[in-house]
Amino acid sequence: MNMIVPLNVLKPGEKGMVVNILGGAGARQRLVAMGLTPGATIHVIESHPFGPIILSVSGTRFAIGRGLASKVMVRKL
């Protein structure tokens, strides 16, 4: 059974499917409108010890802060 983890623990090259987004409505709806919605597959491209994570969702690249990333729950693929 694949674990459900926050997005910020994924390593570069790993993929995850969004299952839920926690946190306030503002941040949540922003993420969703940009395509990070339950069911979307996220591909982590870059993740360094500090600062934003670079990822790709259906062909578009995003940078997302660690705080925000920790609210995106994904199932590791």
Binding site: A27, F50, A63, G67
Partner: protein, 658 residues
Amino acid sequence: MMKIVALAGNPNVGKTTIFNDLTGMRQHVGNWPGVTVEKKEGILEYADEKFLVVDLPGTYSLTAHSVDELVARDFLLKGSADVVVDVVDATALMRNLFLTMEIFEMGLKNIVIALNKMDLAEKKGIEIDARRMESVLGVPVVPLNAKEGIGIDELKRRIYEVANRKAKTDPIMPKYDPAVEREIEHISGALKHTELAEKHNLRWLAIKLLMRDEEVIKLVLRHLGSEKLNEIMRHIGEVEERYKRAMDLIIASQKYEFIDSLMHKFMRYKFEAGETLGDQLDRVLTHPIYGILALFAVFYLVFKFIFAVGMPLQGMLDSAFSSFGQWLAPQIMSDILRGLLVDGVIGGVGAVLSFFPLVFLLFLAMAFLEDVGYMARAAVVMERIMRKFGLPGKSLIPLVLAFGCNVPAVMSTRTLDEEKDRIVTMLINPLIPCSARLSVISFLAGAFFQKNQAFVAVSIYTMSIFLALIMAWFFSKFLVRGESSPFIIELPEYLIPSWKTVLLHSWERSKEFVKKAGTIILTGSIAIWYLSNYPSVMGSGQSYAERIGMFFEPYVRLMGLDWKAAVSLLFGIIAKENVISTYGVLYGSREAIINAMMPLQAYILGLVTTLYIPCIATIGAIRAEAGWKWAFFTMAYMIGLASFMGIVVYHIGIILGF
């Protein structure tokens, strides 16, 4: 009345390019009423009919969470547009159609989809059948490559047809799961008998209420009362319980599923594109170490470019105006008129226009970096640094530019997304010493501290940068309210920008600056001319300027300065380099200062000049961007800060025996 065409779409979809293609040079940049969001309008002519084209802010959705979204949403909701052109990026169809569906759900009918970046989509292996897409979505779809101008004529034609009801549109409505649809029906049923039914699309209201949209909740509360509203909310809670997710997430993911089911009908992947040059570039440009190096290299070049090209132009304009003044002076008989025109008006207009090259080049560089796609990468790198002081990454740009000149720096705060971040960055911006203050600092350091020249200059710089960061932290924590943005940013494809777009953009924005900041600079310059010439000329000890200086002497004494310093500081408000030249007038020559002051006093003068008040051009820029309230606040807090620092450093200096 001209019919109105509104351009809506995600950021980075080429909306501005399409706007320019449609309107040409006939455009105007202003602000949306009450907010600092740029509003662009232009005229489109087609088949002898004129349309007013309004460029709405680029947004990913139409929630009530950001100013940009509210502006776009209110405009669409009011039905102000006769035609809505929804610009869609063919390379990211899924996400772009999310906004399209939100527009459809508003109940708007006159919609044309501009399917841009078809060339890029093809390169990525995405094949879209625009004809099929049109029949599936129920509105005209025009494939475009706006940068090359391909498809623009067709777009104009379709806009014209829809505006004149010559084409039928029937936008498809997203369908949700039965459980959600039931709630939508329940709510619209309850709203049907209220006044809301006349003015609004009930399905849209119901969906937004389900998503707990604050604006819609307020609206419904007014018309339904709290009891009914509470009952609806309880229902929503039950559905959420069943899905184990917030309602807005349920709706969003079902909307995406709906879009997905549509997309299969008109789009397919011919091949999967592998790692692109863009991916490789990103690896370097967003890297914690290489990224910062690249950032410094890029900004060094921008800085170099703006000041290497702009400064000579500024100098040329400056001397052109002063020679014009010198030529004009003997031709005017009346003393008063001559002084007013030559020193006041021409001097003032000259000061405004001499900033024009700097401001224009700044906007040019920024627009270029933005359109190339570098700005988003820079924001990622800077995020790591700036967030510690309560500011987003992008705020580093205005702070770096401030070392050259605060005016373009303040103008560049527009690139920040959140109102709060814009205000805080603007407030602390004048604390960063600009090149004019560098000239004061280096003159004083050179004249009074031959041995420790560099140390003195660096200490003043360090102090002001340090204060800027402290104040940033303080303001964003305690003073300026508002949500600080959670960080997420799209990294758009790297593109070669369209020069037409970049140039037009910079031109319009710099024109706006001259209009807005100009009046203040002009008024200030006339006021200073008056103060220094009445009731008699400066140097006599009788002018108003000198009297003001003497009035303030007891105050500046606290920092060890005399009335002459107070007069100089007063004139420094026009332009900081005046601090030294005023001493020249008061003592007969610049060099005479050396005998008139102690090194400690000179140090204080340098420090206070750096901190005390923004120059009038910067005040003008702040008022243009944020309004009088914040312009006055900036002056007030900086005077306070400068006095505090001046007094403290003076007394420490005395104790240390300087």
